[in-house]
Subunit: 238 residues, 2 copies
Protein backbone atom coordinates (compact mmCIF):
# COMPACT_ATOMS: atom_id res chain seq x y z
CA UNK A 1 0.00 0.00 0.00
CA UNK A 2 0.86 3.63 0.23
CA UNK A 3 0.05 6.66 2.29
CA UNK A 4 -0.12 10.17 0.85
CA UNK A 5 -1.66 13.28 2.38
CA UNK A 6 -1.82 16.98 1.62
CA UNK A 7 -3.27 19.98 3.43
CA UNK A 8 -4.22 23.31 1.85
CA UNK A 9 -4.00 26.03 4.48
CA UNK A 10 -4.23 29.76 3.98
CA UNK A 11 -0.44 30.10 3.82
CA UNK A 12 0.03 27.41 1.18
CA UNK A 13 -0.03 23.64 0.73
CA UNK A 14 1.94 20.83 2.38
CA UNK A 15 2.34 17.43 0.70
CA UNK A 16 3.72 14.17 2.06
CA UNK A 17 4.06 10.66 0.67
CA UNK A 18 5.71 7.43 1.76
CA UNK A 19 7.89 5.31 -0.54
CA UNK A 20 6.98 1.68 0.02
CA UNK A 21 5.51 -0.34 -2.80
CA UNK A 22 4.69 -3.99 -2.72
CA UNK A 23 3.40 -6.57 -5.10
CA UNK A 24 3.13 -9.28 -2.46
CA UNK A 25 5.27 -9.37 0.69
CA UNK A 26 8.14 -10.91 -1.28
CA UNK A 27 8.29 -7.97 -3.64
CA UNK A 28 8.72 -4.84 -1.55
CA UNK A 29 10.53 -1.89 -3.07
CA UNK A 30 11.14 1.82 -2.63
CA UNK A 31 9.69 4.28 -5.12
CA UNK A 32 8.88 7.91 -4.56
CA UNK A 33 5.17 8.61 -5.00
CA UNK A 34 5.69 12.35 -5.38
CA UNK A 35 6.24 13.98 -8.76
CA UNK A 36 6.90 17.71 -9.08
CA UNK A 37 6.35 19.75 -12.23
CA UNK A 38 7.85 23.17 -11.60
CA UNK A 39 8.20 26.18 -13.87
CA UNK A 40 9.56 28.77 -11.44
CA UNK A 41 7.59 32.00 -11.61
CA UNK A 42 4.79 30.33 -13.57
CA UNK A 43 3.56 27.16 -11.83
CA UNK A 44 4.24 24.52 -9.24
CA UNK A 45 2.32 21.26 -9.69
CA UNK A 46 2.72 18.40 -7.22
CA UNK A 47 1.27 14.96 -7.89
CA UNK A 48 1.01 12.20 -5.24
CA UNK A 49 -0.04 8.72 -6.33
CA UNK A 50 -1.46 5.62 -4.63
CA UNK A 51 -2.36 2.44 -6.45
CA UNK A 52 -1.03 0.39 -9.35
CA UNK A 53 2.61 1.49 -9.84
CA UNK A 54 2.70 0.73 -13.58
CA UNK A 55 -0.42 2.85 -14.08
CA UNK A 56 0.90 5.78 -12.05
CA UNK A 57 4.24 5.67 -13.85
CA UNK A 58 2.51 5.58 -17.24
CA UNK A 59 0.31 8.53 -16.30
CA UNK A 60 3.30 10.54 -15.05
CA UNK A 61 5.31 9.63 -18.14
CA UNK A 62 2.53 10.76 -20.49
CA UNK A 63 1.92 13.97 -18.53
CA UNK A 64 5.61 14.77 -18.76
CA UNK A 65 6.05 14.00 -22.46
CA UNK A 66 2.98 16.08 -23.35
CA UNK A 67 3.61 18.84 -20.79
CA UNK A 68 4.23 21.66 -23.27
CA UNK A 69 0.72 21.40 -24.77
CA UNK A 70 -0.72 19.78 -21.63
CA UNK A 71 -0.26 20.54 -17.96
CA UNK A 72 2.20 23.38 -18.60
CA UNK A 73 -0.11 25.08 -21.08
CA UNK A 74 -3.21 25.32 -18.90
CA UNK A 75 -4.05 28.56 -17.13
CA UNK A 76 -5.72 27.01 -14.10
CA UNK A 77 -5.40 23.95 -11.91
CA UNK A 78 -8.90 22.69 -12.68
CA UNK A 79 -7.85 22.15 -16.29
CA UNK A 80 -4.66 20.43 -15.13
CA UNK A 81 -6.76 18.06 -12.96
CA UNK A 82 -8.95 17.35 -16.00
CA UNK A 83 -5.87 16.34 -18.00
CA UNK A 84 -4.61 14.08 -15.20
CA UNK A 85 -8.04 12.40 -15.04
CA UNK A 86 -8.17 11.96 -18.81
CA UNK A 87 -4.65 10.54 -18.92
CA UNK A 88 -5.53 8.11 -16.14
CA UNK A 89 -8.59 6.95 -18.11
CA UNK A 90 -6.42 6.51 -21.20
CA UNK A 91 -3.90 4.31 -19.36
CA UNK A 92 -6.59 2.28 -17.58
CA UNK A 93 -8.45 1.63 -20.82
CA UNK A 94 -5.17 0.61 -22.47
CA UNK A 95 -3.87 -1.69 -19.68
CA UNK A 96 -7.05 -2.47 -17.74
CA UNK A 97 -8.45 -5.43 -19.74
CA UNK A 98 -5.18 -7.41 -19.53
CA UNK A 99 -4.81 -6.66 -15.82
CA UNK A 100 -8.38 -7.55 -14.99
CA UNK A 101 -7.91 -10.95 -16.64
CA UNK A 102 -5.17 -11.51 -14.07
CA UNK A 103 -7.41 -10.07 -11.32
CA UNK A 104 -5.03 -7.14 -10.83
CA UNK A 105 -6.53 -3.77 -9.99
CA UNK A 106 -5.38 -1.30 -12.68
CA UNK A 107 -6.54 1.91 -10.99
CA UNK A 108 -4.95 4.51 -8.80
CA UNK A 109 -5.77 7.67 -6.88
CA UNK A 110 -3.92 10.96 -7.26
CA UNK A 111 -3.62 14.06 -5.15
CA UNK A 112 -2.80 17.08 -7.33
CA UNK A 113 -2.03 20.47 -5.87
CA UNK A 114 -0.08 23.62 -6.38
CA UNK A 115 -0.55 26.95 -8.03
CA UNK A 116 -0.74 28.32 -11.55
CA UNK A 117 0.15 32.02 -11.90
CA UNK A 118 -3.00 34.11 -11.89
CA UNK A 119 -5.05 32.01 -9.47
CA UNK A 120 -4.87 30.90 -5.83
CA UNK A 121 -3.26 27.60 -4.75
CA UNK A 122 -5.64 24.65 -5.18
CA UNK A 123 -5.71 21.02 -4.13
CA UNK A 124 -7.57 18.15 -5.86
CA UNK A 125 -8.09 14.41 -5.47
CA UNK A 126 -8.45 12.43 -8.69
CA UNK A 127 -10.30 9.11 -8.40
CA UNK A 128 -9.46 5.88 -10.29
CA UNK A 129 -12.32 6.69 -12.69
CA UNK A 130 -10.73 10.02 -13.62
CA UNK A 131 -13.28 12.29 -11.94
CA UNK A 132 -12.08 14.59 -9.17
CA UNK A 133 -12.92 16.78 -6.17
CA UNK A 134 -11.32 19.90 -4.70
CA UNK A 135 -10.71 20.76 -1.05
CA UNK A 136 -12.72 23.48 0.62
CA UNK A 137 -12.25 25.80 3.57
CA UNK A 138 -14.20 23.33 5.73
CA UNK A 139 -12.31 20.26 4.48
CA UNK A 140 -8.82 21.48 3.68
CA UNK A 141 -6.96 18.17 3.54
CA UNK A 142 -6.90 15.01 1.41
CA UNK A 143 -5.51 11.53 1.95
CA UNK A 144 -5.08 8.53 -0.36
CA UNK A 145 -3.93 4.95 0.32
CA UNK A 146 -3.80 3.78 3.93
CA UNK A 147 -5.71 6.79 5.21
CA UNK A 148 -7.37 5.68 8.42
CA UNK A 149 -4.57 5.26 10.96
CA UNK A 150 -3.36 8.81 10.49
CA UNK A 151 -6.72 10.54 10.10
CA UNK A 152 -7.61 11.22 13.78
CA UNK A 153 -4.61 13.50 14.37
CA UNK A 154 -5.22 15.51 11.18
CA UNK A 155 -8.90 15.86 12.12
CA UNK A 156 -7.84 17.33 15.45
CA UNK A 157 -5.10 19.70 14.32
CA UNK A 158 -5.50 20.88 10.74
CA UNK A 159 -7.89 23.59 9.64
CA UNK A 160 -7.61 26.33 7.05
CA UNK A 161 -5.86 28.68 9.48
CA UNK A 162 -3.17 26.21 10.58
CA UNK A 163 0.32 27.52 9.79
CA UNK A 164 2.32 25.83 7.06
CA UNK A 165 4.85 24.59 9.62
CA UNK A 166 2.16 23.11 11.86
CA UNK A 167 0.50 21.46 8.88
CA UNK A 168 3.85 19.91 7.90
CA UNK A 169 4.47 18.71 11.45
CA UNK A 170 0.95 17.27 11.66
CA UNK A 171 1.37 15.31 8.43
CA UNK A 172 4.60 13.85 9.80
CA UNK A 173 2.85 12.81 13.03
CA UNK A 174 0.11 11.27 10.89
CA UNK A 175 2.77 9.30 8.97
CA UNK A 176 4.41 8.21 12.20
CA UNK A 177 1.10 6.77 13.49
CA UNK A 178 0.44 5.04 10.19
CA UNK A 179 3.89 3.47 9.90
CA UNK A 180 3.71 2.24 13.48
CA UNK A 181 0.47 0.36 12.81
CA UNK A 182 0.89 -0.70 9.18
CA UNK A 183 3.97 -2.32 7.71
CA UNK A 184 2.95 -1.56 4.13
CA UNK A 185 3.71 2.15 4.65
CA UNK A 186 7.40 2.94 5.06
CA UNK A 187 10.24 5.43 4.92
CA UNK A 188 11.52 7.47 3.17
CA UNK A 189 8.84 10.15 3.46
CA UNK A 190 8.87 12.87 0.82
CA UNK A 191 7.75 16.17 2.31
CA UNK A 192 7.10 19.28 0.26
CA UNK A 193 5.85 22.68 1.35
CA UNK A 194 4.61 25.28 -1.05
CA UNK A 195 4.16 28.86 0.12
CA UNK A 196 1.27 30.71 -1.50
CA UNK A 197 2.17 33.00 -4.43
CA UNK A 198 5.86 32.04 -4.33
CA UNK A 199 5.50 30.01 -7.56
CA UNK A 200 8.51 27.95 -6.52
CA UNK A 201 8.98 25.14 -4.02
CA UNK A 202 9.55 26.43 -0.50
CA UNK A 203 10.84 23.25 1.09
CA UNK A 204 11.50 19.77 -0.16
CA UNK A 205 12.86 17.21 2.20
CA UNK A 206 13.29 13.46 2.09
CA UNK A 207 13.06 11.83 5.50
CA UNK A 208 15.12 8.65 5.48
CA UNK A 209 15.79 5.95 8.07
CA UNK A 210 17.62 7.52 11.02
CA UNK A 211 16.53 11.11 10.22
CA UNK A 212 17.21 12.97 13.44
CA UNK A 213 14.20 15.29 13.36
CA UNK A 214 11.73 12.51 12.55
CA UNK A 215 13.18 10.23 15.22
CA UNK A 216 12.79 13.02 17.77
CA UNK A 217 9.24 13.79 16.62
CA UNK A 218 8.38 10.11 16.90
CA UNK A 219 9.91 9.81 20.37
CA UNK A 220 8.29 12.99 21.74
CA UNK A 221 4.92 12.09 20.27
CA UNK A 222 5.04 8.59 21.69
CA UNK A 223 6.10 9.66 25.19
CA UNK A 224 3.65 12.60 25.08
CA UNK A 225 0.73 10.31 24.23
CA UNK A 226 1.64 7.99 27.08
CA UNK A 227 1.84 10.94 29.47
CA UNK A 228 -1.57 12.28 28.36
CA UNK A 229 -2.95 8.78 28.75
CA UNK A 230 -1.86 8.69 32.40
CA UNK A 231 -3.47 12.12 32.94
CA UNK A 232 -6.90 10.85 31.88
CA UNK A 233 -8.57 9.65 35.10
CA UNK A 234 -9.40 5.97 35.54
CA UNK A 235 -12.92 4.76 35.00
CA UNK A 236 -14.60 4.33 38.37
CA UNK A 237 -14.85 0.61 38.95
CA UNK A 238 -17.99 -0.30 40.80
CA UNK B 1 -20.05 -0.30 10.17
CA UNK B 2 -19.07 -1.23 13.66
CA UNK B 3 -16.08 -1.09 15.93
CA UNK B 4 -15.35 -3.77 18.53
CA UNK B 5 -12.12 -4.40 20.41
CA UNK B 6 -10.93 -6.57 23.27
CA UNK B 7 -7.65 -6.89 25.15
CA UNK B 8 -6.48 -9.91 27.13
CA UNK B 9 -4.05 -8.75 29.83
CA UNK B 10 -2.64 -10.77 32.70
CA UNK B 11 -5.34 -9.49 35.08
CA UNK B 12 -8.26 -10.40 32.80
CA UNK B 13 -10.01 -9.26 29.62
CA UNK B 14 -11.65 -5.98 28.62
CA UNK B 15 -14.25 -5.82 25.85
CA UNK B 16 -15.83 -2.83 24.11
CA UNK B 17 -18.28 -2.43 21.24
CA UNK B 18 -20.18 0.44 19.65
CA UNK B 19 -23.90 0.31 18.83
CA UNK B 20 -24.39 1.86 15.43
CA UNK B 21 -25.73 -0.24 12.59
CA UNK B 22 -26.57 0.98 9.15
CA UNK B 23 -28.00 -0.45 5.99
CA UNK B 24 -27.38 2.70 3.98
CA UNK B 25 -27.22 6.17 5.48
CA UNK B 26 -31.02 6.36 5.57
CA UNK B 27 -31.26 3.29 7.76
CA UNK B 28 -29.17 3.93 10.85
CA UNK B 29 -30.13 2.22 14.08
CA UNK B 30 -28.83 1.33 17.52
CA UNK B 31 -28.17 -2.30 18.41
CA UNK B 32 -25.79 -3.63 21.00
CA UNK B 33 -23.08 -5.79 19.48
CA UNK B 34 -22.13 -7.41 22.77
CA UNK B 35 -23.74 -10.61 24.00
CA UNK B 36 -22.89 -12.10 27.38
CA UNK B 37 -23.41 -15.74 28.35
CA UNK B 38 -22.75 -16.00 32.07
CA UNK B 39 -23.04 -18.92 34.44
CA UNK B 40 -21.61 -17.41 37.64
CA UNK B 41 -18.98 -19.65 39.16
CA UNK B 42 -18.72 -21.72 35.99
CA UNK B 43 -18.15 -19.53 32.93
CA UNK B 44 -18.28 -16.07 31.47
CA UNK B 45 -18.47 -15.90 27.67
CA UNK B 46 -18.55 -12.56 25.86
CA UNK B 47 -19.27 -12.30 22.14
CA UNK B 48 -18.73 -9.14 20.07
CA UNK B 49 -20.00 -9.04 16.49
CA UNK B 50 -19.29 -6.98 13.38
CA UNK B 51 -20.95 -7.57 10.04
CA UNK B 52 -24.36 -8.57 8.73
CA UNK B 53 -26.81 -7.93 11.58
CA UNK B 54 -29.28 -10.66 10.55
CA UNK B 55 -26.42 -13.18 10.47
CA UNK B 56 -25.06 -12.17 13.89
CA UNK B 57 -28.54 -12.25 15.43
CA UNK B 58 -29.19 -15.70 13.96
CA UNK B 59 -25.89 -17.01 15.27
CA UNK B 60 -26.52 -15.58 18.74
CA UNK B 61 -30.07 -16.96 18.73
CA UNK B 62 -28.91 -20.45 17.80
CA UNK B 63 -26.06 -20.38 20.34
CA UNK B 64 -28.54 -19.40 23.04
CA UNK B 65 -31.21 -21.95 22.18
CA UNK B 66 -28.64 -24.75 22.05
CA UNK B 67 -26.56 -23.51 24.98
CA UNK B 68 -27.24 -26.43 27.32
CA UNK B 69 -25.64 -28.97 24.98
CA UNK B 70 -23.54 -26.34 23.23
CA UNK B 71 -21.50 -23.45 24.57
CA UNK B 72 -22.47 -24.12 28.21
CA UNK B 73 -21.49 -27.77 28.01
CA UNK B 74 -17.95 -27.33 26.74
CA UNK B 75 -15.03 -27.52 29.15
CA UNK B 76 -12.77 -25.09 27.32
CA UNK B 77 -13.02 -21.93 25.27
CA UNK B 78 -11.42 -23.48 22.19
CA UNK B 79 -14.43 -25.80 21.88
CA UNK B 80 -16.78 -22.86 22.40
CA UNK B 81 -15.02 -20.98 19.57
CA UNK B 82 -15.41 -24.07 17.37
CA UNK B 83 -19.17 -24.05 18.02
CA UNK B 84 -19.43 -20.34 17.22
CA UNK B 85 -17.55 -20.92 13.96
CA UNK B 86 -19.74 -23.90 13.03
CA UNK B 87 -22.93 -21.99 13.83
CA UNK B 88 -21.73 -19.09 11.70
CA UNK B 89 -21.08 -21.47 8.78
CA UNK B 90 -24.55 -22.95 9.25
CA UNK B 91 -26.25 -19.54 9.08
CA UNK B 92 -24.14 -18.34 6.14
CA UNK B 93 -24.84 -21.48 4.17
CA UNK B 94 -28.57 -21.10 4.94
CA UNK B 95 -28.89 -17.35 4.13
CA UNK B 96 -25.83 -16.73 1.96
CA UNK B 97 -27.10 -17.75 -1.49
CA UNK B 98 -30.17 -15.47 -1.27
CA UNK B 99 -28.08 -12.58 0.02
CA UNK B 100 -25.39 -12.99 -2.59
CA UNK B 101 -28.01 -12.79 -5.34
CA UNK B 102 -28.81 -9.33 -3.95
CA UNK B 103 -25.07 -8.55 -3.65
CA UNK B 104 -25.35 -8.37 0.14
CA UNK B 105 -22.43 -9.65 2.18
CA UNK B 106 -23.75 -12.39 4.50
CA UNK B 107 -20.67 -12.75 6.68
CA UNK B 108 -19.54 -11.37 10.00
CA UNK B 109 -16.58 -11.40 12.36
CA UNK B 110 -16.78 -12.28 16.04
CA UNK B 111 -14.58 -11.69 19.03
CA UNK B 112 -15.14 -14.35 21.67
CA UNK B 113 -13.52 -14.20 25.06
CA UNK B 114 -13.94 -15.10 28.68
CA UNK B 115 -13.14 -18.00 30.93
CA UNK B 116 -14.42 -21.51 31.51
CA UNK B 117 -13.76 -22.92 35.00
CA UNK B 118 -10.61 -25.02 34.95
CA UNK B 119 -8.65 -23.03 32.39
CA UNK B 120 -7.19 -19.52 32.04
CA UNK B 121 -9.11 -16.67 30.37
CA UNK B 122 -8.82 -16.80 26.58
CA UNK B 123 -9.64 -14.50 23.68
CA UNK B 124 -10.45 -15.50 20.07
CA UNK B 125 -11.37 -13.90 16.77
CA UNK B 126 -13.72 -15.89 14.54
CA UNK B 127 -13.56 -15.06 10.82
CA UNK B 128 -16.54 -14.98 8.41
CA UNK B 129 -15.47 -18.43 7.16
CA UNK B 130 -15.79 -19.88 10.67
CA UNK B 131 -12.08 -20.46 11.32
CA UNK B 132 -10.48 -18.62 14.23
CA UNK B 133 -7.31 -17.37 15.93
CA UNK B 134 -6.38 -16.78 19.55
CA UNK B 135 -4.44 -13.89 21.08
CA UNK B 136 -0.94 -14.44 22.39
CA UNK B 137 1.31 -12.76 24.91
CA UNK B 138 2.91 -10.79 22.07
CA UNK B 139 -0.40 -9.80 20.46
CA UNK B 140 -2.89 -9.53 23.31
CA UNK B 141 -5.65 -7.55 21.61
CA UNK B 142 -8.17 -8.02 18.79
CA UNK B 143 -10.28 -5.61 16.78
CA UNK B 144 -13.10 -6.11 14.27
CA UNK B 145 -15.03 -3.65 12.06
CA UNK B 146 -13.57 -0.15 11.63
CA UNK B 147 -10.27 -1.10 13.21
CA UNK B 148 -7.73 1.31 11.77
CA UNK B 149 -8.50 4.71 13.31
CA UNK B 150 -8.21 3.37 16.84
CA UNK B 151 -5.27 1.00 16.33
CA UNK B 152 -2.30 3.38 16.85
CA UNK B 153 -3.20 4.15 20.47
CA UNK B 154 -3.72 0.48 21.38
CA UNK B 155 -0.41 -0.37 19.73
CA UNK B 156 1.29 2.19 21.93
CA UNK B 157 -0.37 1.42 25.26
CA UNK B 158 -1.60 -2.16 25.56
CA UNK B 159 0.64 -5.12 26.30
CA UNK B 160 0.10 -8.25 28.39
CA UNK B 161 1.13 -6.49 31.59
CA UNK B 162 -1.19 -3.49 31.21
CA UNK B 163 -3.63 -3.24 34.13
CA UNK B 164 -7.28 -3.99 33.53
CA UNK B 165 -8.19 -0.35 34.24
CA UNK B 166 -5.60 0.97 31.82
CA UNK B 167 -6.73 -1.48 29.16
CA UNK B 168 -10.33 -0.29 29.64
CA UNK B 169 -9.29 3.37 29.45
CA UNK B 170 -7.21 2.66 26.33
CA UNK B 171 -10.11 0.98 24.55
CA UNK B 172 -12.28 4.01 25.32
CA UNK B 173 -9.64 6.37 23.91
CA UNK B 174 -9.48 4.12 20.85
CA UNK B 175 -13.26 4.42 20.48
CA UNK B 176 -13.10 8.18 20.90
CA UNK B 177 -10.56 8.47 18.04
CA UNK B 178 -12.64 6.19 15.84
CA UNK B 179 -15.93 7.99 16.44
CA UNK B 180 -14.31 11.34 15.77
CA UNK B 181 -13.11 10.25 12.34
CA UNK B 182 -15.85 7.85 11.22
CA UNK B 183 -19.57 8.58 11.43
CA UNK B 184 -20.53 4.91 11.06
CA UNK B 185 -19.28 4.15 14.58
CA UNK B 186 -21.39 5.66 17.34
CA UNK B 187 -22.50 5.68 20.95
CA UNK B 188 -23.59 3.95 23.11
CA UNK B 189 -20.39 2.02 23.85
CA UNK B 190 -20.77 -1.23 25.76
CA UNK B 191 -17.79 -1.78 28.02
CA UNK B 192 -17.19 -4.99 29.95
CA UNK B 193 -14.29 -5.96 32.19
CA UNK B 194 -13.67 -9.49 33.33
CA UNK B 195 -11.22 -10.16 36.15
CA UNK B 196 -9.26 -13.40 35.85
CA UNK B 197 -10.64 -16.37 37.87
CA UNK B 198 -13.65 -14.40 39.17
CA UNK B 199 -16.02 -16.37 36.89
CA UNK B 200 -18.46 -13.48 37.03
CA UNK B 201 -18.55 -10.11 35.28
CA UNK B 202 -16.47 -7.51 37.09
CA UNK B 203 -17.82 -4.39 35.42
CA UNK B 204 -20.39 -3.75 32.77
CA UNK B 205 -21.10 -0.24 31.72
CA UNK B 206 -23.00 1.34 28.87
CA UNK B 207 -21.62 4.72 27.83
CA UNK B 208 -24.41 6.82 26.38
CA UNK B 209 -24.55 10.31 24.88
CA UNK B 210 -23.58 12.85 27.54
CA UNK B 211 -21.80 10.31 29.78
CA UNK B 212 -19.72 12.49 32.09
CA UNK B 213 -16.67 10.24 32.31
CA UNK B 214 -16.46 9.70 28.57
CA UNK B 215 -16.93 13.40 27.84
CA UNK B 216 -14.10 14.22 30.23
CA UNK B 217 -11.87 11.51 28.73
CA UNK B 218 -12.59 12.87 25.27
CA UNK B 219 -11.87 16.48 26.32
CA UNK B 220 -8.65 15.65 28.19
CA UNK B 221 -7.40 13.45 25.38
CA UNK B 222 -8.10 16.07 22.76
CA UNK B 223 -6.48 18.94 24.67
CA UNK B 224 -3.60 16.67 25.70
CA UNK B 225 -2.88 15.70 22.09
CA UNK B 226 -2.87 19.34 21.06
CA UNK B 227 -0.49 20.18 23.89
CA UNK B 228 1.88 17.35 22.96
CA UNK B 229 1.69 18.54 19.35
CA UNK B 230 2.92 22.00 20.35
CA UNK B 231 5.76 20.40 22.33
CA UNK B 232 7.14 18.65 19.25
CA UNK B 233 9.64 21.10 17.73
CA UNK B 234 9.02 22.59 14.30
CA UNK B 235 10.78 21.23 11.27
CA UNK B 236 13.71 23.47 10.41
CA UNK B 237 12.70 25.31 7.29
CA UNK B 238 15.64 25.89 5.01
Amino acid sequence: MTYCAAAAVSAGIVFASDSRTNAGVDHVATYTKMTVFEVPGDRVLVLLAAGNLATTQSVVGLLRSRAAEGIHAKTNLFDVATIVGETLREVVSRDGPALEQAKIEPGCNFILGGQVRGEAPRLFQIYPQGNFIETSRETPYLQIGETKYGKPIIDRVVNSDTSLKDAAKCLLVSFDSTMRSNLSVGLPIDLLAYEKDSLKITLRRRIVEGDEYFRELSRLWSSGLRRVFTEVPDLSWQ
